[in-house]
Symmetry: C2
Subunit: 110 residues, 2 copies
């Protein structure tokens, strides 16, 4: 596949409702699937909880993209950790900018 424009590619890369949030939530260290899931639940303002399929899907996409890495401990019961790769970590400042920008310019409508 061709890459025409890095911006457009980025668009595709983070397409997915929770991708940025996932990367962001991993900034302080590895998290297990369940923890990640619970973190994404925040906003009990009526927003539906994330479906396992969706979280799984986005985690896989981010892993394939090289932003995060999967650590399967292979135990019973299962334990799987996700952590940022170097590429993923290098992206954190940008999300921070986004967050700052959003806080200033997306100030709630209601």
């Amino acid at each position: 596949m061709h890459i025409g424009c890095p911006v457009t590619e980025f668009q595709r890369l983070i397409s997915g409702k929770y991708k940025l949030r996932i990367v962001w939530d991993l900034k302080d260290g590895p998290l297990r699937y369940g923890k990640l899931r619970n973190g994404l639940l925040r906003g009990a303002d009526g927003s539906p909880p994330i479906a396992p399929r969706v979280l799984s899907r986005e985690l896989k996409a981010l892993t394939d993209a090289g932003l995060i890495a999967r650590n399967d401990f292979g135990t019973i019961p299962p334990k799987v950790e996700y952590r940022l790769t170097l590429a993923g970590r290098s992206f954190i400042p940008i999300i921070a900018s986004i967050q700052a920008w959003g806080t200033r310019h997306l100030r709630r409508a209601g």
Copy 2:
């Protein structure tokens, strides 16, 4: 509507295949609909050209979001310009970071 997390809100805001590109392409000054359209065509690597409906839709969304402004000259033939608002302009550095990051980490596969 509630805003849980600025990052998630941002996700929603730029959801749309070309939104970031549109903002980015406007950074050097206002552009007319057709110019914008042609600019988005780049990447004649087989990627389908943007459908008028889609461009129109994204422009409206960005306008509603307050990132760009629409200037209708009301002439025949029609002339409509789009330009960044202050909020939109303040977002340019972030897209620049994204571009820089993408150039470093999304290095083309082919």
